[in-house]
């Protein structure tokens, strides 16, 4: 670890020196770096897909949709928008301050740390990286050791494409993270679990380092059968796609559980079953389209969730586990007890509990008993229900009549609230995430007002009081001696 400590210190020193040199301030430099990320992904599509397949059994289409495509798009948006994003925002100042001027400029924090996650190891590394670079920072990326091939790819390829004095990659696990967190960073961006999020924030507190924490939670999906029954086929497909079609349920915005009225539950299940078959065939393990579980430990965790006898009893589909092959079958549960472990921690796997309620309105009450999730999904055309969901629940985001896709909308901030996180990114929000908004005010040396200075007296006090109220007419009267 001594060697690692030295590496970290040396990297920090070099990145700080590079930042101080001013090189990263240039918009041209930033665009060139982001352009290089774009090229890197385009040039190495096959290598990246192969790494993702090795790490997670991810199919190349899924890999493109969820990772490569996201990065390519993010890079394009950043390059095309950077000039606009970097423009200072001018503020209107009250007449009293005339002819003063005010504006806000976005300045880079300095040297920032990005800690990414194993489930989308490419996009969760490169997307924040794009934001950090767009904002003009130097950045160190620590990729996750639980996706070793993707991590190795990044560690080897980023130095070949990007400015190594400004952008660095470090591989490793918790011990490396611990060393990194002992140092002072100007900003830390973390994607991962709430448990580790707390550790990151506590470490950041020692240095007053601002943090963005992209965490997770149980993302509920409300199905209001009354108002969407005409399109139930689309609904079922979207839910199934959102659960099993993206890293086998191991995404922070995965459909965690479904809420539906009791009388419709079995028809939903009856539609989900053939949908799963249409996605993955008779034997999902061999389909090549279903991602694997990350590690044996993660399989064991999911196994444990299912082992609760009451949960076992609620299995209506699937349930088989192959620890060797890191495989958990797409599984549906009907009404596992609300106090079971599986209903109280983020599932992060291909198990879908369906919770029934008497009236769909009750789903709001259930959602509120749990920590605020990253996303809430609701399939409904009932405007009242939509309003109730928006005003009575809290979550990072709400998506009506679809799942997962809010991730693609870069005009929307992507981030959590409460247990699901602090801060946000995507699109311009990524740029803002890694910038300090510095207020600049310029006064005039002419136009000096005696009333500003001691010794104080009643006249000056009245003057200033009126000035604050922007009662300009009364001010004039005062100055003309026509007001006491």
């Amino acid at each position: 670890m001594e060697g690692m400590k030295e590496t970290v210190e040396e990297s920090l020193r070099e990145m700080r020196e590079t930042f101080a040199s001013g090189r990263t301030r240039s918009l041209k430099w930033r665009k060139a770096q982001i352009g290089a990320i774009y090229e890197m992904v385009k040039d190495n599509e096959d290598k990246i897909c192969s790494a993702l397949f090795q790490d997670l059994g991810k199919h190349s289409t899924e890999a493109f949709r969820d990772e490569l495509g996201v990065v390519l798009r993010s890079a394009t948006v950043a390059i095309n928008s950077l000039d606009k994003w970097a423009v200072p925002k001018h503020s209107n100042l009250p007449l009293l301050f005339y002819p003063a001027k005010g504006k806000v400029i976005s300045e880079p924090y300095g040297t920032v740390l990005v800690l990414s996650s194993w489930n989308f190891p490419i996009s969760l590394s490169l997307d924040p990286l794009i934001g950090a670079i767009a904002a003009g920072n130097t950045v160190l990326l620590k990729s996750s050791e639980l996706s070793p091939n993707a991590s190795a790819f990044l560690a080897k390829t980023i130095p070949a494409y990007l400015d190594t004095k400004a952008i660095k990659v470090i591989e490793g696990g918790p011990d490396v993270a611990t060393i990194l967190l002992q140092h002072q960073w100007d900003k830390i961006f973390f994607t991962g679990s709430p448990k580790i999020g707390r550790i990151i924030m506590a470490a950041a507190a020692q240095h007053l380092t601002p943090v963005t924490l992209e965490l997770g939670g149980k993302c509920p999906t409300i199905v209001d059968h009354h108002t969407i029954s005409k399109n139930i086929k689309s609904v079922v497909k979207r839910i199934a796609g959102g659960k099993w079609g993206s890293c086998s349920g191991q995404a922070c915005i995965s459909v965690d559980y479904v809420l539906i009225e009791k009388s419709y539950a079995s028809s939903l299940i009856d539609m989900l079953k053939p949908t799963i078959k249409s996605f993955f065939g008779e034997n999902p393990k061999e389909s090549g389209c279903l991602s694997r579980i990350a590690t044996k430990q993660h399989v064991q965790r999911l196994s444990r969730l299912l082992n609760d006898p009451r949960v076992q009893a609620s299995i209506v589909y699937g349930g088989s586990i192959d620890e060797e092959k890191l495989y958990v079958e797409p599984t549906i549960l009907l009404d596992p007890p609300l106090d079971s472990e599986i209903m109280n921690e983020e599932i992060f796997g291909p198990i879908l509990p369906i919770i029934t309620v008497r009236d769909i309105q009750e789903s709001i009450g259930i959602i509120k008993t749990k920590p605020k999730p990253l996303a809430i999904y609701a399939f409904t055309n009932d405007e009242n229900l939509k309003t109730r969901i928006l005003s009575e629940t809290s979550s990072g985001s709400v998506t009506f009549n679809d799942v997962m896709i809010q991730y693609m909308c870069d005009a929307l901030p992507f981030g959590g609230v409460g247990e699901s996180g602090i801060g946000r990114y995507h699109g311009k929000y990524s740029f803002d995430c890694f910038s300090h908004e510095k207020a600049i005010m310029e006064g005039s040396l002419g136009m000096d007002l005696e009333a500003r200075y001691p010794p104080w007296n009643n006249f000056k006090l009245t003057f200033i009081r009126l000035a604050f109220r922007e009662a300009y007419f009364k001010l004039i009267l005062l100055m003309l001696g026509l007001k006491r």
């Binding site: 199919h59 190349s60 289409t61 493109f64 949709r65 495509g69 798009r73 301050f97 005010g102 806000v104 400029i105 300045e107 300095g110 999020g197 707390r198 924030m201 506590a202 950041a204 507190a205 007053l208 601002p210 965490l215 497909k237 199934a240 389909s287 399939f379 005003s391 809290s394 990072g396 985001s397 709400v398 998506t399 009506f400 896709i405 909308c409 005009a411 929307l412 901030p413 992507f414 609230v417 409460g418 801060g423 946000r424 300090h436 908004e437 510095k438 207020a439 005010m441 310029e442 006064g443 040396l445 500003r452 200075y453 010794p455 104080w456 006090l461 200033i464 009081r465 604050f468 109220r469």
Partner: protein
């Protein structure tokens, strides 16, 4: 006189539970409630100014004009702005969607975070208590205010007035010191807003980390003033004086801490300062009623120690008189104290003003950059290029050119620090935003579904996805028509 009520862990827990119940019941969400509370705060400012002035005189010896202007008038303006703008601030913001999420519409909805904690400071006890509370209430939160025990008369008056006028089911004051603050910090809050020192800022953030509570930390630092010879010296010096000694006698977070100027120009600066100081405060400034006193003997001794240090005490060129019994220190100017002296290592927060001379003004950038980032950095000059370089390369919470401190009266500029001087910002709409969660909402249609999204994956689907990501209409058509 009633014995002081005990406030420990149990009381803190009950308090938060009560407020959370009010919040969950929807007490604070409506526009009417927020407006009513804000109007009550306005009544406090309008009807109780004399008592507030007396409390501030008791706690700080603050002159009536300072109390009236910097605490009450600023607050009044802040409340009136919130009343005027609240409807706008509360309205959802539309967000643009893209081809990838088509058909859809999106918006960002501001929602309250829940139950928030405001911990304020002793130097501007009314302003720094009520201004954040204005933000919390405007945003629809329930709020607990903990005023500083180092300004006891103000703390007691705040507790009395808030209890008298505001809705006790959602707005409460807890008076106290370390015990009470610790008890409060153990609870789970949805946001903590702290004004104070960097040292305690770390403690606050570490406590917040346990609950993943987001924080705004308004801290401090050594705000430098660079004085160029190409300036209007009289105006410059008057503004520095009133910004330093005229704002709570140097005990303000954005107080000009030290001056940087050239060796050549320094004598002129000192001469001008002496002259204006005498005009403002007379030949015996210790007798002037126009300056606050030092807050207490702890701070008096701290400042004394700064002055008495060897190599520093002989650098006094003006002032230096001390009166411990009356907690007064005369406006004191020092010339070229050593850079590693105590007075140059910590935020002075008092009536001592070191002047450091340089060979040329360029060196000031390095001096400032070698120190922790301050809350404010000031420059007095006519030189346009110097202004631009300063604004672009000096990192601080905010930059003010040709004036001191006025930027905090401007509601159109965010007021906050960076690095050691803090994180987050407020004032004007920034206060509303500081206490809000910006929830992303995406409305999708159940039409417009594409098989591209779902397994089983294929080359064709991959090509279409790629085209969609590039949002290239022609490629999309080509793929759909089977031409690519």
């Amino acid at each position: 006189m009633a014995a002081k009520k005990m406030f420990g862990a149990a009381e803190a827990s009950i308090l938060v539970t009560d407020l959370r119940r009010s919040f969950d019941d929807g007490v604070t969400r409506g526009y009417e409630w927020r407006v009513t509370q804000l109007k009550k705060l306005l009544i406090i400012c309008d009807n109780h100014e004399p008592e507030i002035v007396v409390a501030l005189r008791d706690d700080l010896g603050k002159p009536e004009l300072e109390s009236s202007v910097y605490e009450i008038s600023l607050l009044r303006n802040s409340i009136k702005l919130a009343l005027k703008q609240l409807k706008n601030w509360m309205a959802p913001e539309e967000a643009k969607t893209s081809l990838t999420t088509f058909p859809a519409s999106a918006e960002i909805v501001s929602e309250p975070l829940g139950v928030v904690l405001v911990i304020s400071a002793w130097n501007y006890p009314f302003l720094l208590s009520i201004d954040p509370v204005i933000g919390a209430i405007s945003a629809g939160n329930a709020v607990v205010l903990k005023p500083s025990e180092l300004a006891p008369a103000s703390s007691a008056l705040l507790a009395k007035l808030i209890e008298q006028y505001l809705d006790p089911s959602a707005v409460r004051v807890v008076e106290g010191a370390v015990t009470e603050t610790t008890a409060l910090l153990e609870q789970k809050w949805d946001k903590i807003f702290y004004t104070g020192s960097s040292k305690i800022g770390r403690v606050i953030m570490a406590a917040a980390a346990k609950h993943l509570t987001p924080v705004v930390l308004e801290l401090g630092g050594k705000s430098p003033v660079v004085v160029d010879s190409d300036t209007d010296l009289k105006v410059t010096v008057r503004r520095i004086i009133v910004g330093k000694w005229g704002c709570n006698n140097g005990q303000a977070c954005v107080s000009p801490d030290y001056i940087l100027t050239t060796k050549e120009y320094a004598p002129k600066v000192i001469e001008a300062m002496k002259k204006e100081l005498e005009t403002f405060y007379g030949k015996n400034p210790m007798d002037s009623k126009d300056m606050s006193r030092i807050v207490n003997s702890t701070h008096f001794d701290r400042l004394s120690k700064l002055l008495d240090e060897k190599e520093v005490s002989d650098k006094i060129v003006y002032g230096g008189e001390k009166d411990r019994e009356n907690l007064k220190i005369a406006p004191t100017i020092l010339l070229d104290v050593p850079l590693d002296s105590l007075i140059m290592s910590e935020e002075i927060f008092g009536p001592l003003l070191p002047i450091l001379t340089l060979n040329n003004l360029e060196e000031s950038f390095d001096v400032i950059r070698s120190r922790p980032k301050p809350l404010a950095a000031y420059l007095f000059t006519h030189n346009k290029k110097l202004k631009e370089r300063f604004a672009a390369t000096v990192s601080a919470g905010g930059i003010v050119v040709n004036d001191i401190a006025v930027h905090l009266a401007l509601h159109t500029l965010p007021f906050g620090g960076v690095g050691e001087s803090g994180m987050g910002a407020y004032h004007g709409k920034f206060s509303f935003d500081a206490f809000s969660h910006k929830k992303a909402v995406l409305y999708r249609s159940l039409f417009g579904d594409s098989a591209v999204r779902y397994p089983p994956y294929s080359r064709g689907k991959l090509r279409l996805l790629k085209a969609l990501v590039d949002s290239n209409i022609f490629d999309i058509f080509k793929v759909l028509l089977g031409l690519a």
